[in-house]
């Protein structure tokens, strides 16, 4: 039981660090990395529940594999967008992008 609690605490800490990075950091690369951190915190939760949960099963671990795949694809797309933005604006500073407003 204590094992589950410590894993979940670790996951929560990781998630919060990621969230902090997403909200606060200026560099888009770091924002992207922080998102990965949040995803992995979720993965950690899934694995912890599959091992120490009320009804342990492999489904959680299997699901985290899917998440990693999707996260890899997402990271690829995200970096590609960043490269495109850098070519257009010569900057990866998130503060300077307010296209959503227009």
């Amino acid at each position: 039981m204590n094992m589950l609690a410590s894993y979940l605490t670790l996951a929560a800490v990781l998630f919060c660090i990621g969230l902090y990075g997403v909200i606060v950091k200026r560099n888009a690369i770091i924002v992207l990395l922080s998102i990965e951190l949040m995803l992995n915190a979720v993965n950690l939760n899934l694995v912890a529940f599959s091992k120490y949960g009320v009804q342990p099963s492999l489904t959680g671990q299997l699901f985290s594999l899917f998440t990693m795949t999707v996260a890899a694809a997402e990271a690829a797309v995200g970096v590609a967008i960043l490269v495109a933005i850098y070519r257009a604006r010569a900057s990866v500073n998130v503060d300077e992008f307010d296209e959503l407003r227009r």
Binding site: L19, V22, I23, L100
Partner: protein, 620 residues
């Protein structure tokens, strides 16, 4: 077949004429005026047929109505009555209207809005005819208001003149005060009448045979409110102020208003609802006192005016006071008789005055004089009208005034003497008017010339009527009163009344002749001794100023205060609502920064709040 069945056609012809003329508009040209004249002629002929039929006494009173509105169990009827009284009024209205139409061909010849003029006259006539024919108070009220609207349109016909505009507004607003009384009376009647009936026959039944159905106090209230309506329309004190100002309208309209269509409506209304008044002594006394007071009050003002039309206007107010006096002492027949004769000689006087104004282009009698030399027909006919108004036998006014004075002597001796003094004043101011205008030497520059035949013909017709109309009811041989009211008037021929009324009238005329024609008595005999009195009379007892000071100014101030309230409080609230919405919008627009991280933070805060709320609910 009886003509009475077709009485509804009488107002329909002028309405049709109105519709045609207003549709044609200005393009119709001068010939269009004949449409209005023709319509009134047809109405006149039909009215004469109806009246002839009634005079023959072979047909019953006729009533026809249809259900206008059906509300639950209550059905509102509209229809028309043909009685002796209404047939008399039909003839008077259509006859005066026809003659005024004819006269206007000459008088309004050079006016470019002549088509509009004739259209309004037709509508005016139609409204009055509808009012006369109505068999219930509600339709009467509708036509009553229509008459008011038409008078507004016609008094303000020359709206380029600011005075005419002001006079039209004044006529409309002052009569509105009376109309409000009539409306309240109508609502009270609707409320208290068994079956909510408003038709005259039910009212007659309730107040005569079923006395006591409506409580005495309510009856008095209803009667007084109806009388308030009549006071407004008939220019009685204290709502008489609009009538002299209404002289700003074209002169044929003054004749129409004063003789047939407008002011007669008030007297007619009281005569029509007379049973309500009879049920209340207080109301009767009020009517008699207001009538008597108005008669003498207006006659004194008439003495000191210098505008030919205003003198005649005050004489109308005074004569209407006589009619109210007659009604107040319980003699409908005398009142209707005076209404009948007054219609002819007052129309004659106004049309004659119009003829003079047409010739000398001024209304101030001090600038006239010697007009009679060049305007023989006008002078003669005007003279006949003046004698009839002054009550000199054997002209029409004498007989009707005699009937009123006789009735007054029987019931309210004090009011008889008021009437007698008024008769003296009437004779005096008419003599003053006549001698200053027609006798002596010309004082103005304009050279007078006789009016065209189309204007003098109505004068001659009316002059003949002003002579003979009185013979329908003389103390020696009378059938008119009984015919109109349906009951035999009290037989009380009093030699004293005849002697007094003839004496005061002759005295008035003689005094007028001495002062204004012969010059044996100096004109300023009064004004040099008591200048204050003359000044008060010239200023009409300062009634207008009084109203301006105690009513118009405070109400205007209240209006201004309310306007400020509206501007800053009501509009302020509205503006505040608008501006707060706009401000909120601006605030929200600032939130949309386009910064993705800001959005994420907002979403996070929202999530935390929701989480706290859910968690908090759990622990509650």
């Amino acid at each position: 077949m009886t003509f009475a069945q077709y009485a509804w056609l009488v107002p329909l012809f002028p309405v049709a004429a109105f519709a045609v003329l207003i549709t044609l508009g200005r393009g119709a040209g001068r010939q269009a005026a004949w449409i209005g004249t023709l319509a009134s002629l047809v109405s006149l002929i039909l009215s004469l047929c109806i009246a002839g039929e009634r005079l023959s006494g072979t047909v019953d009173e006729y009533n026809a109505h249809f259900t206008w509105l059906q509300i639950g169990n209550y059905s509102l009827n509209a229809g028309f009555d043909v009685t002796n009284l209404t047939s008399l009024m039909l003839v008077v209205v259509t006859l005066v209207s026809f003659l005024v139409n004819l006269y206007s061909h000459g008088y309004m010849r050079d006016d470019e809005r002549i088509t509009t003029f004739f259209a309004y006259v037709a509508l005016f006539t139609a409204s009055m005819l509808g009012l006369v024919l109505s068999d219930n108070l509600l339709t009467l009220y509708i036509f009553w208001e229509l008459v008011g609207v038409c008078s507004f349109l016609l008094v303000g016909f020359w709206f380029q003149k600011p005075e005419a505009k002001a006079a039209a507004k004044k006529a409309f607003i002052v009569t509105r005060i009376g109309d409000l009384g009539l409306l309240i009376a109508l609502l009270l009647l609707f409320w208290y009448m068994p079956g909510n009936a408003l038709d005259f026959s039910s009212i007659h039944n309730v107040f005569t045979t079923e006395a006591g159905v409506i409580a005495g106090g309510i009856t008095t209230l209803i009667a007084l409110l109806i009388f308030l309506g009549a006071v407004g329309k008939s220019g009685q004190f204290p709502l008489h102020v609009w009538l002299p100002d209404a002289m700003e309208g074209p002169t044929p309209i003054s004749a129409l208003i004063h003789a047939a269509t407008m002011v007669a409506a008030g007297v007619f209304l009281v005569a029509r609802t007379f049973v309500i008044f009879q049920a209340s002594d207080a109301a009767m006394t009020t009517v008699a006192v207001i009538g008597g007071f108005t008669a003498i009050f207006a006659a004194t003002i008439g003495l000191a005016q210098n505008d030919i039309k205003r003198i005649l206007a005050y004489s109308t107010v005074s004569q209407l006071g006589y009619m109210m006096l007659a009604l107040g002492v319980g003699s409908v027949s005398a009142a209707m008789f005076h209404l009948f004769t007054h219609a002819f000689f007052k129309a004659l006087l106004f049309l004659g005055a119009g003829s003079v104004i047409h010739a000398v282009h001024t209304q101030d009698i001090r600038e006239m004089g010697g007009v009679g030399r060049n305007m023989k027909i006008t002078a003669w006919t005007f003279g006949i009208g003046a004698l009839a108004l002054s009550g000199i036998p054997p002209f029409a006014g004498f007989w009707s005034k005699d009937a009123i004075l006789t009735a007054a002597l029987t019931h309210q001796p004090l009011l008889f003497w008021v009437g007698a003094v008024t008769a003296f004043l009437t004779a005096l101011y008419m003599a003053r008017l006549f001698f200053m205008v027609f006798a002596g030497n010309p004082r103005g520059e304009a050279h007078a010339h006789e009016s065209p035949a189309i204007m003098t013909l109505p004068l001659i017709v009316l002059a003949v009527l002003a002579v003979v109309a009185g013979f329908v009811e003389t103390p020696f041989n009378g059938w008119f009163g009984e015919w109109v009211t349906g009951e035999k008037p009290e037989a009380h021929t009093s030699a004293m009344v005849i002697v007094v009324s003839v004496a005061v009238s002759l005295l008035g005329v003689y005094l007028g002749w001495l002062i204004y024609a012969k010059g044996t008595v100096r004109r300023d005999i009064v004004s040099s001794r008591i200048p204050g009195l003359v000044k008060v009379l010239e200023n009409k007892y300062y009634i207008d100023e009084l109203y301006r000071f105690i009513l118009v100014k405070p109400l205007g101030g209240l209006g201004k205060a309310l306007a400020v309230f509206d501007e800053y409080v009501v509009d302020g609230v509205v503006r505040m609502a608008g501006q707060s919405a706009a401000g909120l919008g601006r605030l929200n627009a600032r939130l949309q920064s386009g910064q993705l991280q800001g959005y994420a933070l907002t979403a996070l805060i929202g999530l935390v709040i929701i989480a706290l709320a859910i968690a908090g609910r759990r622990f509650w």
